[in-house]
């Protein structure tokens, strides 16, 4: 896994995001509180930016000693980040940053390019697997940094039962709880959710276009956002499609390219619609004798040697 960038305030997070090559992932975290290395700790995990067609997906974790954690975290206001206003989230994050002696956190910013490459590679790797691996990586990073993790609370991605089984197999020594809406149920997941959401919003807002295009606004990234819609319809390169801020593997994006960019064909480009229309061959067709070539009038073609066939080499008679 990549190196963790240690930060202690929002401007430092901003600087990290701006200096990162935005086609690869970025790990940012707090200093590890000394107390977390000794006392048994609880760790929460949540994500932000899973659905949008633009920008990175962010996985966040927060951890602190188990003792009295719910009360202390509630005092900071840690709850489901989606139920809070942007201002409120920023304020709570500022207070999380101040609690350096007992509360630690870490986020992984997963580049939209990494998401596309994973989902579109030969051996398909789903968004759920990307998510699970990021969560596993965060837990491992925190443990490797010396934190005495005992209990883990995770907001689920996919069915909670199989996700829990997967995590328990990797971390048999931990007490693991996987639940939906865990961010509203467990304050430590609420804290993780705020770290993830604020980082996701920053990473989207501070995006630098390596394509050198000038864009005023790209909105929230949700397919229904009119600003995002406008951005997608106005920033199409006929050959390369979209800048890498866009998740090409989202149907919103691929539909627009199908209509407005040039056609690209290759074995690896799935056409789902065509697959659906494929008709099944009648079973009798497999038993019909193959038609013998009757046409002896045509001049026999000389079969080229396998050496040339394998190399796709042909004699060039014209251009």
């Amino acid at each position: 896994m990549e190196q963790v960038h240690t930060v202690s305030n929002l401007p430092e997070i901003e600087r990290c995001i701006v200096s990162n090559d935005n086609s690869s992932n970025l790990l940012i975290g707090s200093v590890i509180p000394e107390i977390c290395k000794g006392q048994p700790c609880v760790l929460g995990i949540d994500e932000a930016g899973r659905g949008p067609v633009l920008g990175p997906m962010v996985y966040g974790t927060a951890y602190c000693p188990v003792d009295n954690n719910e009360e202390l975290l509630k005092k900071l206001g840690c709850a489901d980040s989606k139920a809070l206003t942007e201002k409120k989230r920023d304020d709570i994050l500022e207070s999380i940053f101040k609690e350096t002696n007992w509360l630690g956190w870490m986020v992984e910013i997963i580049s939209p390019n990494v998401i596309c490459n994973s989902m579109l590679r030969r051996q398909k790797y789903s968004l759920n697997e990307v998510s699970h691996d990021s969560a596993i990586g965060l837990i491992r990073n925190v443990i490797d940094a010396g934190v005495n993790v005992r209990e883990v609370f995770v907001d689920t991605v996919g069915p909670p039962e199989s996700y829990k089984r997967k995590l328990s197999e990797i971390f048999p020594e931990l007490k693991i709880t996987v639940a939906s809406k865990a961010d509203a149920l467990f304050p430590i997941v609420g804290a993780a959710s705020i770290c993830a959401k604020v980082s996701r919003d920053l990473a989207l807002k501070l995006w630098k276009f390596m394509e050198g295009i000038e864009v005023e606004a790209w909105g929230s990234g949700y397919p229904g956002d009119p600003v995002t819609k406008k951005f997608l319809s106005e920033n199409i390169d006929p050959v390369f499609g979209f800048p890498q801020l866009v998740r090409f593997s989202w149907s919103t994006a691929s539909k627009i390219l199908k209509e407005k960019a040039v056609l690209v064909e290759g074995d690896e480009i799935d056409d789902d619609e065509e697959d659906e229309n494929k008709t099944t061959r009648a079973i009798t067709s497999f038993f019909k004798p193959k038609a013998e070539p009757m046409d002896t009038q045509t001049t026999p073609t000389v079969d080229r040697h396998i050496f040339f066939k394998e190399r796709c080499l042909q004699v060039c008679n014209s251009l």
Binding site: N117, Q244, V264
Partner: protein
């Protein structure tokens, strides 16, 4: 100065107009061979949208990584074989062919090609890479045979 070389096929001949300034210049163009058919002829924003994101591969020191419309690509730089030159010609007006004569003009030259595969590092299993074998084999089988060598064996 422009040198003209003719290549004759059975049905037509092609005049290669070789501008020696282009041929002898120290500049060469960057060629990328992508594993797709792209329905586009003309300029493309290669340096902004493609090479700006190119990286060396973490698993192979000679390997490269890039993306095309979100698809992961793996590539390698393949030099033009020794004794050969990589040249790019353009045809000004393909619709006006007189007396089965076509005119091609030297536009650029290149010393290597970056060959890309979809999510797989290029190797000698790729037809393009192994096609270059023919150059060496062709040299060997077409070179003159020493009489003494034949009688000895």
């Amino acid at each position: 100065m422009v040198e003209i070389k003719s290549v004759n096929f059975s049905t037509m001949s092609i005049n290669l107009n070789i501008n020696t300034d282009v041929l002898n210049s120290s500049e060469s163009s960057k060629m990328h061979l992508l594993p797709f058919h792209i329905d586009h002829e003309g300029p493309a924003n290669v340096s902004k949208y493609f090479t700006s994101y190119m990286k060396s591969s973490p698993s192979d020191e000679n390997g490269l990584e890039a993306s095309f419309r979100g698809l992961p690509l793996k590539g390698k730089v393949i030099p033009v074989p020794e004794g050969y030159k990589g040249l790019v010609f353009t045809e000004t007006n393909p619709n006006q062919i007189e007396d089965n004569q076509r005119n091609f003009f030297l536009k650029n030259k290149f010393t290597d090609i970056t060959y890309w595969n979809y999510d797989k590092l290029p190797s000698s299993n790729d037809a393009f890479v192994s096609a270059l074998d023919w150059i060496h084999i062709s040299d060997v089988i077409h070179s003159e045979v020493d009489d003494e060598e034949v009688t000895e064996s």
